[in-house]
Amino acid sequence: MKKLIPALLLCGAFAIAQQHPAIAIRNAKIVTVSGPVIAKGTVVVRNGLIEAVGDNVQAPADALVIDGEGLTVYPGLIDSLSTWGQPGAAPTTTTATAGRGGRGATTTATPAAAQMAAPTQLARGPEDRPQTTSWLKIADEISGADRRIETARSAGFTTAVTFPTRGIFAGQGAVIDLISGEKPGEMVVSSPVGQYISLGRGGFGGGGGGGFPSSLMGYIAYVRQIYLDADHYKLVKEAYAKDPRGMQRPDYDRALEGVLDSPRILLPANRLVEMDRMLRLAAELKQPTILYGGREAFRAQAAELLKKYNTPLLLSMKWPEKARDTDPDEVDSIRTLETRDQAASAPAILAKAGVRWAFYSDGLDQARDLQRAVKKALDAGLSREDALRALTLSPAQIFGVQDRAGSIEKGKIANPVVTRGDIFDDRTKVEAIIVDGRKYEPAAEASPMGGRGAVTEPGNPGGIR
C-alpha cells in the first residue's frame, strides 16, 4: 500500500482527498499537545471531528484503519499569520519595522481581494481613510485554489490564520483549514479573528506624492484618529438607533464599521523600540492586541514588555540574514550583528519567560525553509514541545479557537498529521494528513517541515473530495 501511493501520485492523481465514514489510526504514538503524550493509542476521526482518542480506544467497524505501528500522530500545524488561501497574495511583511535589524523587504504585490480598494485619489488626511479596507473579510475572499495550500499541507500544516495584508487597515483575518474544497466557505474555522494593521515608512516627505500618511508618525496618527472616530461613530449611531426623530442621520462609514467589527488588532513590531511603541499605542487604543514580527524578541526587555502588557507575539520564522546584495565593505552596527546572531534564540527565551507566542511563516512556504527555521530555534535552546505548541495550540489560543483546534482532543476538529519519526526531524516522512476529517495523501516523499526529500512543487491544485 505504501509503495502504491507514490506510484499513484506519479500518475498525476495528486493530493486527492479521500472520504471515509471514519478513520482510525491505531497503535500510534499520539502527541496531543493539550495533554500527555500517549505512547500507544488510537485516534478515531468521524464527521470531521475527533470522535475518540486514547490508549484504550477501539477502531470502529466502519472506519478506514491506518496501522500506526511506528508512527506518530500530531495535531496539524497552524500558521498563525499567513496569506495562504489567497491566490496571488503577497506574503505578510512588517514593513514598518524594516531597516536596521536586518533585511526587510517591502512587498507591494496585491492580493486579488484588496484590489477593489485601490485608491483613486491621494489622501489629504485621515478623513480620506487612506490605505484602508478594514471592512474586508478575508473569509469572503479565500479560495482552495491557492497552490501554496498543498505545499503547506505537505509540510504538515492543516490550518492557517490568513489575513489581507495590503494597506494600513488591511482587513479582517480568518482561521481556515487547508482543504482544497469546492466551496471556499468550508475552509473557514473562525471569522473575523482580527484586523491586520501595517505601518509604512516615509522619507523626507513632501515630494513623495503618495498622499497622507507619508511618515511613521503619520501612520500612527492615522491609526489613533480612526479609533477616536470609531468611538464617536459608535456613540452617534447608538443615539440615532435609539431615537432617530429630530436627529441628523449619521453617515455610514465602512472603514469604522470594519474597525468596530474586529475582535482584536495585529500591530507590527520587530525592534525593541517598536515593541515598546506598539504596546503603548495598543494600551492607549484599548484594543486587544497581538504583535507580529519580533526580530529583537530575543532581548530580555522584550519578554518583560510582552508580559507587562500581557500581549502575545507572533514570531516570524524568517530569521534575519545579511542581505546578499549589500556592499561587502559596509559593516553593520554591533546591534544589527547581534540581532542576526541571536534572533533565533527568541523562541527559547520567550517560552522560558512564559510569554504567549506563536510562530508564523512570514512568506516562507517551502517546507524545507520552514524546517530549517525551526531547527535554528531548536539549536538555540527551544524544546521540541514548545516548538510544537507554538505551531499548534498557542496560535489557536491566541486567536480564540482553542476550543476547536490546536490539539488532539475529543470533539475538536480532526486535523491530525501522521508521521514516521519526530515532526521536526530532518528525515521524517509524512504518512498521512487529515484536514477536517478528510484524508490527504502527502506529496510523494513529503516530510513534515521539509526534511530532506520534500517535494515542494505543487501538483494538481484543488483536490477533489
Binding site: G125, P126, F204, G208, P213, S214, L216, M217, G218
Partner: protein, 449 residues
C-alpha cells in the same frame, strides 16, 4: 603591563550602562553657573539635583568625589532645534497642516546620535518635526538619557510644542520641478507661494477656533454626545489655549513679521522663531511679541532665503532684548554647540556668560524649562558637563556628562572600552562569515526534474 590589565578590565564593563544617581561632589572646578557668574569651587549633587554650589561646600558622607582640578563645569547644553532620535521620517509632508502627527510617537531611543550628542555635552534637545509644511507636527524636548527607553527620554513636565514653517520649504511642494512632473511623481500641493503659506496658517486657525468653540460649548454643559475629537485641530486648540508652544521655522524678515501679525490676530504666541537668519532686521518686533530666537552661528547661503544672513545676528537680536539661542538642526553640529556659542563672542562681542547662555539658559527659557535646567543653581536638575579646557574653545573636550545626577557619558570609559567593543564586533562578523561558508542543505529535488 599594569595599564594593559586595567584597560582590559574596563573594557569588560558594560559600556552603555550609566552609573546610577548617587551623591557626587565635583571638586576644584571652574564652575560657569551662567546665572550667577563663574567661580572656583565645588558642586554637590544628590538625588539627581544640585544641592549646593560654592567655593567651599560640606562634603556629605558617602559622596563620590569627582576631582575636576583644572577643569570646567557648565550646565548641560540644550539644543533648541534637533531632529535626532526619530524613526520613520521627521516630516509628514503629504499635507500642508500635519498637526495630527507627534514626534512623541516615534522616539527612537536607540539612535546613536543621542550618545554622540551626549558626548558633545548636550543633555536636552528639542526634537522638532521637519519644515515640509506650514503647520507641522507636534514636538517635545528630550533628555539625552542614553540607555533608557523612549519614555525614559522625555523631559517630564515640559510644555510640548508644534512646528510651523514659512518660506521655501513649505511652498516647495506647490512648485514641483519639471523632473518630478515628468516622473509623474509629485502632484502640486497647496501652497506654492509665501502668500499661500500665510493663508494655510490662517485657514487652519479659523478652523481651530470653530473647533475650540464647539468643544468649549460642550465642556460647559457636558451633556449629550461630545464633538468629534480631531487630532489635527486638537493640537491647534492647545496652541490657542497656550498649552503648546509654537516653534516656527523662518528666514526672511517679511515672513517673520507676517507670522507675528497672524499670531497676534488669532491671539496666540510664537514661542520661538527657528533659524530666523534675518532676525537682526526685525529684532525689535520679535522682542515686542515676546518670541525667542533660535539661530545658527554662521550657517547660511544654502538657499536663496538664507542669503541675507550675518554672523552678528545672535548678538544683535540679544542686544535688542530677544532671548537668543544657538541651535544645531543637525546631528553633527549638535556635537559642538559649545564652539558655535563661542562664535558669538567673536561676532558681536558678547561676554563668555552671554555666549554660554545661548546654548544653556536661553534655550531653557525658550522651552519653558528654565526652572529645571539651564544653569548651575541649587535646586535645579544635576545636568552638568565637565570639560578639560575652557568650554567655548575648539580645544575643549567633554570629560563627563551628568543628567539628573547620573553619569551618562564618561570619556575615559568610552575610550578604554573601544578595543573591547571592537573585538566583540569582530567576533560577530567572523562568526557570521563562518556560518555563511558552511555548506547548505542540498537543493530540494523537484518532481519531474
Amino acid at each position: 603591563m599594569k595599564k594593559t590589565l586595567l584597560l582590559a578590565l574596563l573594557a569588560a564593563l558594560p559600556a552603555a550602562a550609566p552609573l546610577s544617581a548617587e551623591t557626587y561632589v565635583i571638586q576644584n572646578a571652574t564652575i560657569m553657573t551662567v546665572s550667577k557668574g563663574t567661580l572656583k569651587g565645588s558642586i554637590v549633587v544628590r538625588d539627581g539635583k544640585i544641592v549646593e554650589v560654592g567655593e567651599k561646600v560640606m562634603v556629605p558622607s558617602g559622596a563620590k568625589v569627582i576631582d575636576a582640578s583644572n577643569q570646567y563645569v557648565i550646565p548641560g547644553i540644550i539644543d533648541c532645534h534637533s531632529h535626532i532620535a526619530g524613526d520613520g521620517g521627521i516630516n509628514e509632508g503629504s499635507v500642508s497642516v500635519s498637526s495630527m502627527v507627534d514626534i512623541k510617537d516615534i522616539i527612537n531611543s536607540e539612535d546613536i546620535a543621542i550618545y554622540r550628542a551626549l558626548a558633545g555635552g548636550v543633555t536636552t534637545a528639542n526634537i522638532l518635526h521637519g519644515s515640509a509644511n506650514a503647520i507641522g507636527g507636534k514636538t517635545l524636548p528630550l533628555k539625552m538619557r542614553w540607555g533608557k527607553d523612549a519614555q525614559g527620554l522625555i523631559f517630564e513636565g515640559a510644555t510640548p510644542g508644534i512646528k510651523f514653517a514659512l518660506g521655501e520649504n513649505p511652498k516647495r511642494a506647490g512648485n514641483p520641478t519639471g523632473r518630478a512632473i515628468n516622473a509623474g511623481a509629485a502632484p502640486a500641493r497647496y501652497p506654492a507661494t509665501r502668500m499661500g503659506v500665510e493663508d494655510v496658517i490662517r485657514e487652519a486657525f479659523v478652523e481651530a477656533k470653530a473647533y475650540k468653540a464647539e468643544w468649549d460649548a460642550w465642556d460647559a454643559k457636558k451633556t449629550g454626545i461630545p464633538p468629534r475629537k480631531d487630532l489635527k485641530l486638537e493640537a491647534l486648540k492647545e496652541v490657542l489655549e497656550g498649552k503648546r508652544y509654537v516653534h516656527a521655522h523662518c528666514y526672511r524678515a517679511d515672513e517673520i513679521l507676517m507670522l507675528l501679525r497672524v499670531a497676534d490676530e488669532f491671539g496666540f504666541k510664537i514661542r520661538t522663531l527657528q533659524h530666523v537668519l534675518e532676525g537682526y532686521k526685525v529684532a525689535k518686533e520679535i522682542a515686542a511679541h515676546g518670541a525667542g530666537a533660535s539661530t545658527f552661528s554662521d550657517w547660511w547661503s544654502y538657499k536663496m532665503e538664507a542669503f541675507d544672513a550675518i554672523p552678528f545676528n545672535a548678538a544683535i537680536m540679544m542686544k535688542k532684548g530677544v532671548v537668543v539661542s544657538i541651535n544645531s538642526d543637525d546631528a553633527e553640529q549638535m556635537r559642538h554647540l559649545n564652539i558655535e556659542a563661542g562664535k558669538a563672542m567673536k561676532y558681536g562681542g558678547v561676554s563668555e556668560t552671554e555666549a554660554l547662555a545661548m546654548v544653556t539658559l536661553n534655550p531653557a527659557k525658550q522651552l519653558g524649562i528654565d526652572n529645571r535646567v539651564g544653569s548651575i543653581e541649587a535646586g535645579k536638575d544635576a545636568d552638568l558637563v565637565i570639560y578639560d579646557k575652557f568650554p567655548l574653545s575648539d580645544y575643549a573636550k567633554v570629560q563627563k556628562v551628568l543628567i539628573d545626577g547620573t553619569v551618562y557619558f564618561d570619556r575615559d570609559n568610552e575610550v578604554s572600552s573601544r578595543p573591547g567593543k571592537q573585538a566583540e564586533k569582530q567576533k560577530l562578523i567572523d562568526k557570521e562569515k563562518q556560518n555563511q561558508q558552511r555548506p547548505q542543505t542540498p537543493p530540494t529535488r523537484r518532481q519531474g526534474q
